[in-house]
């Protein structure tokens, strides 16, 4: 602002010099014919000079610094916004790459999990089938044993009944009362057992 004040002072000094000078440049302004139009009139020169200098001083002091600072601030904000936008863009690109990598990794892991699950399921299936086979064989063996035992019980019961029946028939035939717990009964039972073992073989 100091520079403008000194410029204004210099211009004002020049104008004053023009005013107090013998007005050699402006003396012939009256009645100079066509050229008169190109001769500056003091009544125009001085007010214009003063008005311009005052306006220059006022504008240089009050208006243009504000305009400049506003323009600078706007420029700074725009630059910041552009930087921010660039950073956001770069971050978005990085995030996307990271998320893509995550998705890829997740897919790979999912595929691994599915593969492992299939393998486990296969192992489990084989284990279950093997266990089922074992159990079935055990059940079959147990059933065979049970059947054999049942058969044996039935056979023993049948032998007992046959023995009772034979003793009864024999006593009726020989008309002799035989003792049910006697030697004959044991003979019959041994006979039936031998017959049963022969039958079993």
């Amino acid at each position: 602002m100091k520079t403008y004040r000194s410029a204004a002072l210099a211009a004002a000094a020049l104008a004053t010099a023009n005013l107090v000078a013998p007005a050699c440049a402006f003396a012939e302004e009256e009645g100079a014919g066509g050229i008169d139009i190109l001769v500056p009139k003091m009544a125009e020169f001085v007010p214009a000079l003063i008005a311009f200098l005052i306006i220059l001083a006022v504008m240089a002091k009050l208006v243009w610094p504000q305009v400049l600072s506003m323009m600078d601030e706007r420029e700074r904000r725009i630059a910041e916004s552009l930087d921010e936008a660039e950073k956001t863009k770069q971050k978005a690109i990085a995030d996307r790459e990271a998320s893509d990598a995550l998705v890829t990794d997740a897919r790979r892991q999912a595929a691994d999990i599915v593969l492992a699950a299939r393998k486990d399921a296969e192992v489990e299936r084989q284990r279950i089938v093997a266990a089922a086979h074992t159990e079935a064989e055990e059940i079959i063996a147990k059933a065979h044993a049970n059947a054999e035992e049942e058969r044996r019980a039935i056979f023993a019961d049948a032998a007992a009944q046959i023995a009772d029946l034979s003793v009864s028939v024999a006593s009726k035939i020989v008309e002799r009362q035989l003792d049910e717990d006697g030697e004959q009964r044991r003979l019959i039972e041994r006979y039936i057992k031998e017959a049963g073992s022969l039958n079993a073989n």
Partner: protein, 265 residues
């Protein structure tokens, strides 16, 4: 034709009307119609800038603020930065004030009934003197008083040629404010004379029709339409001239500042 007979007299009268006449005091101490309108333009300039500063914001809104900002940006980028370069900030206030002062004066002169402050050589001479003092002062600041005047002659020219060149450059320097003042004045003055002439022609040709309504007078008044159309075109051209002349004055001042501050002339 009667209209053409009257035309030369009317145009002479028009030119006389455009000559400076005192509205207060006399032509030495006082105000002419041009300096009066120049002061009006100065007040308008202040009002426009006060309004602009109040309304201006980082995000400009409205035609007024955007329009003023457009002009400021144009002068800043095209004149200050474009011509002066990195040192543009130091000259920004002077160039902006100069541009807006001339532009508002030119625009005020386009309003019917008003006169442009720049339509008088006295006003344009004041601006040219300010411009002259400014760039010489900046040159002296950069190179020193004697250094600046010495630098008018390019370095490396042998004696006595450098003396001749120095004298020629001095004349060129002195002619700069004169050409600045006359260019702006003549453009504004001549433009308004041309507009006034076509307005006179339009009214002269239509005058008989207003006095007496007849088919002959109506036919004679037909050229008035053409004169009016030309007047409108010239008016539009003058709007452009109002901007262009402010721009030319400012850019030439910027060029002179750049030359004055340049290391080598």
């Amino acid at each position: 034709m009667e209209a053409f007979d009257k035309l030369s007299g009317e145009i002479l009268h028009l030119v006389q009307e455009f000559s400076s006449a005192s509205v207060f005091g006399d032509l030495t101490v006082g105000l002419t119609q041009y300096s009066f309108w120049l002061l009006v333009a100065a007040v308008v300039f202040c009002l426009v800038m006060v309004l602009f500063v109040r309304r201006a914001s980082l995000v400009p809104h409205g035609v007024f603020v955007n329009g003023v900002e457009y002009l400021i940006d144009y002068v800043t980028n095209d004149v200050a930065k474009g011509v002066i370069g990195t040192e543009w900030r130091r000259h920004f206030p002077f160039l902006l004030t100069l541009f807006f002062f001339i532009f508002i004066n030119n625009v005020i002169g386009l309003i019917p009934g008003m006169k442009p402050g720049t339509g008088a050589i006295g006003c344009t001479a004041a601006l040219a003197i300010c411009s002259f003092i400014y760039f010489v002062w900046r040159g002296c600041q950069k190179h020193g008083f004697f250094g600046y005047w010495k630098s008018l002659a390019p370095a490396g020219v042998m004696f006595p040629m450098n003396v001749f060149v120095w004298v020629i450059e001095l004349f060129s320097l002195i002619l700069r404010p004169i050409t600045l003042a006359i260019r702006l004045f003549c453009n504004m003055f001549a433009g308004h004379i041309v507009m006034g002439s076509f307005a006179i022609m339009a009214s002269l040709f239509a005058e008989p029709l207003f006095e007496q309504l007849s088919a002959l007078n109506a036919a004679m008044a037909l050229p008035s339409i053409a004169w009016l159309a030309i007047l409108l075109i010239i008016y539009v051209v003058e709007m452009i001239v109002a901007f262009v002349q402010a721009y030319v004055f400012t850019i030439l001042t910027a060029v002179y500042i750049q030359i004055a501050e340049a290391d080598e002339h």
